[in-house]
Symmetry: C2
Subunit: 239 residues, 2 copies
Amino acid sequence: MATTTCPHHHEVNCGQCRMNTLCLPIALQIEEVDQLNAIVQRGRPFQKDDHIFRTADPFKSVYVVRSGSVKTYAINDSGIEQVTGFYFPGEIFGIDGIAHPHYISSAIALETSAICEIPFSRLEELSVSLPSLQRHFFRVMSREITNDQQLISLLSKNSADERIATLLLSISVRNARRDLSGTRFRLPMSRADIGNYLGLTVETVSRVFSRFQRQRLLNVDKREIELLDVPNLQVLANI
Amino acid sequence: MATTTCPHHHEVNCGQCRMNTLCLPIALQIEEVDQLNAIVQRGRPFQKDDHIFRTADPFKSVYVVRSGSVKTYAINDSGIEQVTGFYFPGEIFGIDGIAHPHYISSAIALETSAICEIPFSRLEELSVSLPSLQRHFFRVMSREITNDQQLISLLSKNSADERIATLLLSISVRNARRDLSGTRFRLPMSRADIGNYLGLTVETVSRVFSRFQRQRLLNVDKREIELLDVPNLQVLANI
DNA sequence: CGACGCGTTGAATGTTGTCAAACCGAGTGG
DNA sequence: CCACTCGGTTTGACAACATTCAACGCGTCG
């Protein structure tokens, strides 16, 4: 009965997906999970740099990362890219398109990734008969707002050091939630992506990493990170 | 039949409210407006510095500004206030609380203001029978996310000049939407609020205003603003 | 009147950005 | 196999923009 569990295998249903405690409302009954499962579309894995959707695409679905990682970004009025989020397994993205006929951001795989697609019109229909699902999606959207507001505060009030410490700890806890190491991990995104997301230049990001290493807060080797002094990183991140 | 229309009068129903094209979904039928109207609660106007809700309060309702203006703010992990938004007549606030048992931000009147309160549980019930209302609220939440992401981009990528030009133009168009002057208006918020919102110090905000005046982009007298050169302000704001 | 809140202005400081150069590892083609 | 390029990263020197600290102006209110 032990199925081979390739991390990017795309035929896993919601009931057996290891991520389901993250992306599904806890309250859902087994038959309700089946109903949701029936509308979820699972395609072939996306390769690094493949787009899941683009700004101009008609809004159709929201997405959940099952394996790998995704970055979303928007092009602002001056034509400059703004990275708006990094998404790891169990996390939902594409929600920001709901108010518009088209997606307002683009989503791109940072590495080979398996992605679940949830057609939004089907989800709306299903929500009517499953109040707990509707409530769950309100909460997911609301959480997205909360996250954005925390990022706003981070950008508005914190130094480069504090921003980077905060991001590293955020990735750390999100790893831990998936039963991975919270202290050793590989960053799927480039320095440029980090800088773009945090409102810093690549050079500043690089310098802060180097300084953190000199201060024995962490070890860094390209994208491999080992957090050495979480308590002091938390002080920096104001946690 | 001409009723006295005190701007803060609180017995106006949704059907006759001048703001309803802003806060209601266009598609709503007359009898549907009545249904919504029945659940909207209108209290006595809030005075300047009165709280509409506070961070610790249990989440119960979302709110719409009918007259006056409101500022929302959150206290971040380090105990510092972060202004998260300014709201003018027709605009909805309090949405960010949906994912949580309590509000995650606080809302305070910047001047004497009339506020409509929409109990969220009633709204959820009503949404089930009024699909267009449900859709509308998804869109409102989504728009909130969009706004936040634009602010993120502004904070992340733009200079003090650009941030302030953007805010002024935003207030300008929101005024124009309410058939008020888009070029002459009074700011309801302090320099400190503006700086807090835009990630700048009061001194910087003040200096930018002065410089804009020297450059004949606008006239400033305390909180009275007159935009003189909208095209060049738009260039600054990358519009 | 004096205290206070709010806004403005000046001078000095500092964090971050800009520009430039070099490094490193992974591919690629000769 | 080596030289080469290329993208991503690091580091240094310098400049710029925003902050900090300080003082002052102005209106309101006790």
